[in-house]
Every structure is written in structure tokens, then in C-alpha cells.
């Protein structure tokens, strides 16, 4: 099967603001992520990493350039197409953003409710399996408030992965965690994504987790400065 690569960007330029206040934060960005590849994006604060991630995740409308994410052209995509694309991407945020009134398992099952073909029992079973895979088998029915920071972020990882997305986008997922839990979370994320064959684009400042990467991309002032070609 001739699989196209999950992330393909060409000449992506993006600016915030209008008129006088207009500030270009991405300039001619080109990026390719191959299937199953784990890419870390680093760079100084304000270099445009988060902006790039929100464009790839279809959370923001494109301005200039071309982007094809999981086969979906983003340049001319309608809102409904962007919403549909988002359901095929697993997001992991700096803070876990779990729904406080749902248990860990219900939170994870939320990622499955958008798709048909599964009934409630199957959704809960899959969610429970995913939680065991991140080592939370004993905590599936706890509310987020009853979990530690690292455990919550692991629930967020399970939620991002459970629907078997075509791509994982993570923005500083370890920023709010201590060293040990941070390491644990990214290693879990890497192992599970490897097994699913899911590519990851992960923004980080954290030098301790660079070891999980297949490739590291650095950004500065809206440009990608260093893109060693993927070692296939």
C-alpha cells in the first residue's frame, strides 16, 4: 500500500494580529513526518512551536502554504473537515484537562464516543485496557482529583491513544511533572505509539526526554533551523 506520510508541510507562513500589530511567527516552514516516526520539536520560547502544532492539529485556520495532515489538505479545509480531522489526532496538553466529573475510565471513553461501531460496554472495556497499558489498572474508577499529577497525565496519554489516532501531538507534556513521572509518561507514550505505529510530534524544552526521539527538529524565530533527514 502506498501510504502517504502523515504530516507534510510546505512553505507554511503564519502571522498573528492585523495591520500595525501584525507579527509573523512562522516563516516558510517545511516539515515531513514519516509514518511511525517520533519527532521532537525544540527551540527557544516564542519561536513558534506551539503555533505550528495548533496548525498541524487543525485547531487554527491556515493562512499561507500547504499542509496535508493524515491525507487532509488543510489550506482550504472547511470547519467540519477540520473537526473531523481532529478526531483522528490524539492531543496531549501541558495540563491534563481531564473532565473533573468523569472517572479516569469515562474520560478515556470520551475519545471513543465520537465513533460508531462500539457500544458502551466495548468503549469502557477498551478504555480500561488502555488504562492498564499506562499502568493505571487499579485507578480506572477514580476521579481525576483523586490522582497524582503523573497519573493524570497518564490518563491523558491513554485518552489520546485509545481511539488509535493517526497522529499524536503533544505540547510540553512533562512541563507540569517532576522528573521521574515525566520520564515515565513519555516512555509510556513512546512505547504505546511504537506498538500502534503512530507518529508523534512532541514539543519540549526538557532535555531529559530527548532520548525518545527518532529525530529532533529545532526552531528559531519561526524557521526550522535544523532538520537532519530521517534515518530510515
Amino acid at each position: 500500500m502506498a501510504q502517504t506520510c502523515p504530516v507534510e508541510l510546505h512553505n507554511v507562513t503564519f502571522a498573528y494580529g492585523e495591520g500595525e500589530l501584525r507579527r509573523t511567527v512562522l516563516r516558510d516552514v517545511a516539515l515531513r513526518i514519516e509514518a511511525g516516526e517520533i519527532v521532537l520539536l525544540t527551540g527557544p520560547s516564542g519561536s513558534g512551536k506551539t503555533t505550528l502544532l495548533t496548525l498541524i492539529g487543525a485547531l487554527r485556520a491556515m493562512q499561507q502554504g500547504e499542509a496535508r495532515i493524515l491525507g487532509q489538505e488543510l489550506a482550504a479545509a472547511r470547519e467540519a473537515e477540520r473537526v473531523a480531522l481532529r478526531s483522528r489526532i490524539g492531543f496531549i496538553f501541558q495540563s491534563h484537562n481531564l473532565l473533573g466529573f468523569l472517572t479516569a475510565r469515562q474520560n478515556v471513553a470520551m475519545a471513543l464516543e465520537l465513533q460508531g461501531g462500539l457500544n458502551e460496554a466495548e468503549r469502557l472495556a477498551r478504555a480500561a485496557e488502555m488504562l492498564s497499558a499506562v499502568g493505571l489498572a487499579d485507578h480506572i474508577d477514580k476521579l481525576p482529583a483523586k490522582l497524582s499529577g503523573g497519573q493524570r497525565q497518564r490518563v491523558a496519554v491513554a485518552r489520546a491513544l485509545v481511539a488509535e489516532p493517526g497522529l499524536i501531538l503533544a505540547d510540553e507534556p512533562t512541563a507540569a511533572l517532576d522528573r521521574a513521572s515525566g520520564q515515565e509518561v513519555v516512555h509510556l507514550l513512546r512505547d504505546l505509539a511504537r506498538r500502534q505505529g503512530t507518529p508523534i510530534l512532541l514539543v519540549t524544552h526538557d532535555p531529559r526526554i530527548l532520548d525518545i526521539a527518532d529525530r529532533i527538529v529545532a526552531m528559531e524565530d519561526g524557521r526550522i533551523t535544523q532538520t537532519p533527514s530521517p534515518s530510515a
Binding site: R86, N97, G116, R159, E164, R195
Partner: protein
């Protein structure tokens, strides 16, 4: 590379789960069910806020029920006298708006109506107000006096038939047992001691029995007597009556007779069925007075207050969980889906606030009915229409609160 491409390895192979992932999208009905379930879970999570919301809806419910209840009761009781006065057809002057202020019609119309073969009896009815002396305290209070010849049997009041003979004696009357208590223990004294004397106007009458009519807007109590006795008390032009009751031959078609009489009689009378007579009286009080508007205003105030409370609760729920809503948007939940969650919460509040509200209103109806003698009761169509109002109230609150969802921007999540 090829190895990496072979997908669902994790769950399918490792844990032996045989469900392949699909991207079909849930059916619209299933999605709605899930949205409402999410709304309910969110409402349920904050018990105090849920209780406040339910109390708000209940408050609006009870307020509207009480307004409608009082309105209905007042209008029902406004027509008590005519509602209790049953006959097959009535003749009335076309300019009569309310029974407490009747326009007189020529008595001869009664005899003319007899020309129709299906009219068996035509009985003129006379209406006046007179004071009745309280047998316990001696104070006077105004009562409605209804005079007619009961022996023809054209006019029926509950309790009247056994009294027909006694009422034909001079200076006798029957008293309405459902009159307001200010007339004194008239009924109790009668039940305990039998007939006794009562003063009506300046004249002594013998109370020979009790009928059931009920107080109206125009009168706190009612007295029934024969036409002869009526004429002894009130000096009235002999040729004029206030109302005429017609009794038809058994099996006669009332609408056909009504049509024939309309053609037969001159324009100074209208021919009405009992229902039309009562409806006309009710319409006078509903439309001819500001009473209806006052209750409408009260109901609207209740709904507005309820709506503000529900809106506040829903709004605070969204505002307090913006990042969670934004996360759901990032996960692929559409704005429309989340709007359904908010509306689902509004509808849930409507239902779970209405049920106890209905219960409380029924209880209060009973309580108030006992305290005021107003005929408060809960007709099913009123329960339904209040439910629809509460539903609309909560739905509107949901629509207003929904706008806050736009502030949940998934691009701000990173």
C-alpha cells in the same frame, strides 16, 4: 518501515481485543443520547449547584401554577351561579354582560318560546341583591337572590328538588350551603335544628332547605325562592324578567330548537345553551377586566426569574470548564455537539424541576382551596401547558448560555 505501518497492534494483538477501530461516526440519535448523558453527569457532579437549579425551576413552576390556579379559580367562581343553574336553553337580553348586572328582557318572550313544539316549559328567572342577616351575630351581608317558579322543573340546582313544595309556601327560601362563611352558621343551624327564621331585607323568611351554588364575583352567597315570594320582596315591573330558562321535551335536539327560536324571537333576546351562558359570563371577567392581565404578568415574572437562574447556572458551568470544553473540541467534538450538551442540561433541569414543582403546586392548591374556598384544582391541560412553558424557559436559558461555548478555543489549549 513496513513493520510500523501494520496498525492496530496494541490492543487487538496484545490484549486480544477483537474490535477494530472505525471512523464511521455515531448515529445522530446515539450521539444525542451521549450528549445528554454527559450533561447529566456534569450536573450531577455539583450537588449544590444542581439543587439551586432545581429550586429555581421549581420556583418558576410553582409561581406559574399558582397564578394560573388563582386565575382559573376566580374565573370559575365568577360563574358559579350560572354554572349551578342548569336548564336546556336560556333566553337572555343581548346587552347583558354579567349576571350581577342583568339587562331585563320582556317576560312575554318566555311565552313566545312555548310556540315551539319542543319547548315544554319556559320559566322566567329574577335576580336581585339583598342583605341577609347572620343568625349568630346579627350583621348583614349582601346575597344574590334568585327567584323562579321551581315547580315546572325547568331550572335545576343541586339540592333543589326535595324543596320545591316547601318553597311554594309564602315567605320561604332556600339558602346556598356553599356561601361564604361570613353569613354565619346558617347551614349548620338548619341541619341541627330544622327550619327556622332568617331575615332577608326587612322581611322574615322561613329557611326550608339548603341548595349548592357557591359564591361568585358578584355575590358572596345565594338565596333561592319562588317567583311569588320574590315579587313580595322586590318591587319590579311585572312584565320584565332577567333570564328565561327553557325545558325541552325529552329527546328534543337542543341545537335545532335553538336555531328555530333564534328565527322566531325578536332581536331583544339571545338564545343560549347552558355552556354558552357560562362561557359568556366567564369571558366578561377574563376580557372585560384587568384580572387576566395581572395573572399573566405574574406568570411571566416567574418564568423570567426561573430563566435567569437556569441561565446563570448553565453559564457558570461553561465558564468554569472552558478548558475542558476546549479539550473536547480539540478531540473532535463539534460546537453543535457541545451545544446539545448545554441544551441537554437545560432540558434535564426543566424535567427534574417540573416534577417536584407540580407536586408542590398540587399540595398548595389543596391547601389554598381549603383556606379560601376557591375552587383550585389541577386540570391536565394546565399541567401540560406549564410544562411546555418551563421547557421553553429552560431551552431559552440554554440557548443564551450556549454562546459562551464560543469562548472555548482549542487553539488556546497548548
Amino acid at each position: 518501515m513496513n513493520q510500523l505501518l501494520r496498525k492496530p497492534a496494541l490492543l487487538a494483538a496484545d490484549q486480544g481485543l477483537a474490535i477494530p477501530p472505525t471512523r464511521r461516526g455515531a448515529g445522530p440519535l446515539a450521539a444525542l443520547g451521549l450528549a445528554i448523558r454527559l450533561a447529566w453527569r456534569q450536573l450531577k457532579a455539583d450537588r449544590a449547584r444542581l439543587a439551586t437549579a432545581i429550586a429555581g425551576v421549581m420556583f418558576a413552576c410553582v409561581l406559574v401554577f399558582m397564578q394560573l390556579g388563582f386565575k382559573g379559580a376566580l374565573f370559575d367562581s365568577a360563574t358559579n351561579m350560572l354554572a349551578a343553574m342548569r336548564a336546556d336553553l336560556f333566553l337572555m337580553h343581548p346587552m347583558t354582560q354579567a349576571s350581577f348586572r342583568p339587562e331585563r328582557l320582556p317576560r312575554i318572550r318566555a311565552w313566545q318560546a312555548l310556540a315551539d313544539p319542543d319547548v315544554a316549559h319556559a320559566v322566567p328567572i329574577y335576580l336581585e341583591q339583598a342583605t341577609l342577616r347572620n343568625p349568630a351575630t346579627g350583621t348583614r351581608r349582601s346575597a344574590q337572590v334568585i327567584g323562579f317558579d321551581a315547580s315546572a322543573g325547568a331550572v335545576a340546582f343541586t339540592g333543589l328538588p326535595p324543596l320545591i313544595e316547601a318553597l311554594q309556601r309564602p315567605d320561604t327560601l332556600a339558602f346556598d350551603a356553599r356561601s361564604r362563611p361570613e353569613f354565619g352558621p346558617v347551614g349548620r343551624l338548619f341541619r341541627d335544628h330544622g327550619p327556622y327564621h332568617l331575615q332577608l331585607g326587612r322581611r322574615d323568611f322561613e329557611l326550608v332547605g339548603l341548595v349548592e351554588i357557591g359564591p361568585s364575583f358578584g355575590a358572596d352567597g345565594n338565596v333561592v325562592m319562588s317567583e311569588t315570594n320574590f315579587r313580595r320582596v322586590f318591587a319590579r315591573p311585572p312584565g320584565m324578567a332577567d333570564l328565561v330558562a327553557l325545558r325541552l321535551t325529552p329527546g328534543a335536539d337542543a341545537t335545532a330548537v335553538q336555531a328555530r327560536l333564534r328565527a322566531l324571537l325578536p332581536a331583544d333576546v339571545v338564545v343560549l345553551t347552558h355552556a354558552e351562558l357560562v362561557r359568556g359570563e366567564r369571558a366578561y371577567w377574563e376580557n372585560g377586566t384587568p384580572i387576566g392581565f395581572i395573572f399573566l404578568f405574574g406568570s411571566i415574572m416567574g418564568l423570567v426569574v426561573g430563566m435567569v437562574i437556569v441561565y446563570q447556572i448553565l453559564f457558570a458551568d461553561i465558564a468554569g470548564h472552558l478548558s475542558e470544553y476546549a479539550t473536547l473540541k480539540a478531540m473532535g467534538y463539534s460546537n453543535a455537539y457541545l451545544s446539545r450538551v448545554v441544551l441537554g442540561a437545560a432540558v434535564i433541569l426543566a424535567v427534574i424541576g417540573f416534577i417536584p414543582g407540580l407536586g408542590l403546586a398540587v399540595f398548595l392548591y389543596d391547601f389554598v382551596a381549603k383556606a379560601t374556598f376557591l375552587p383550585l384544582h389541577m386540570p391536565p391541560d394546565r399541567a401540560l401547558s406549564v410544562f411546555l412553558m418551563i421547557f421553553a424557559m429552560c431551552f431559552t436559558a440554554g440557548l443564551l448560555a450556549m454562546r459562551k461555548l464560543r469562548d472555548a478555543n482549542p487553539a488556546d489549549m497548548f
